[in-house]
Symmetry: C2
Subunit: 136 residues, 2 copies
């Protein structure tokens, strides 16, 4: 079987709360994680909430990374959704576990878009030489 | 048990390909879905890829909605991640199924951040009167 997307659902418990509450740290960690995965970054959007917590997205040509942090619980929910075979989402996950000083991580690897059941590969829309993101 | 977040993983097969390939339609559908869920929209970012396909995120005060479309397969992968009890993510999912004319949807409801095991509710960071998103 072949899927269009790989989706890592990453629950990070027992992280360093100070890192999770620092907008610049969280944004830099997520952007760096995208680079660890060898993704092509298209857009970055991070927001801090009152009184506490950060939400952010990194849109990549190969799909996205997202994070929501609860510093008060030392917890962050991260998703890394990728397509294509060039990209390395698990390296991004490992990077974030280290960066957030997470002592209790879990990673679930889900396949999205299981459209082919006879083993053939589905061509995916992003190939290096054809990549062209249009922002509006 | 009580979780911080509700995460709907939505696979939409057999959708109308023309809708999935129309940036304005996809963006409007996702923003409207966020409103159906009674979410507070913080940021919106949508991108069209060459030759085909759209990726987009709606960051909401209560977390996010994301979509990646493969019009060539009539397929879209949608995620709706929410926290709090006021919000109605399943209504957003139903709205998108209708909007994309999806004939073969699946919705998985995952709980994220299962930090409380003794039944007590965890207060969440977003409450209506304290909501204040800071964009930088």
């Amino acid at each position: 079987m072949h899927a269009l997307g790989t989706h890592l659902l990453i629950d990070l418990k027992d992280c360093n709360p100070e890192v999770l509450d620092n907008l610049e740290e969280v944004r830099d960690a997520m952007v760096s994680a995208a680079k660890e995965a060898e993704a092509t970054i298209v857009d970055v959007s991070f927001h801090e909430f009152n009184p506490i917590g950060i939400s952010g997205m990194v849109i990549i040509a190969e799909s996205h990374l997202s994070i929501h942090t609860w510093p008060e619980y030392g917890y962050a929910a991260v998703d890394i959704f990728t397509c294509g075979e060039q990209i390395k989402p698990m390296e991004a996950a490992a990077y974030l576990i280290e960066r957030f000083k997470c002592k209790n991580p879990s990673v679930i690897d889900m396949k999205r878009g299981m459209l082919s059941v006879n083993g053939e590969k589905l061509p995916h829309k992003i190939t290096g030489s054809h990549l062209q993101a249009v922002s509006r």
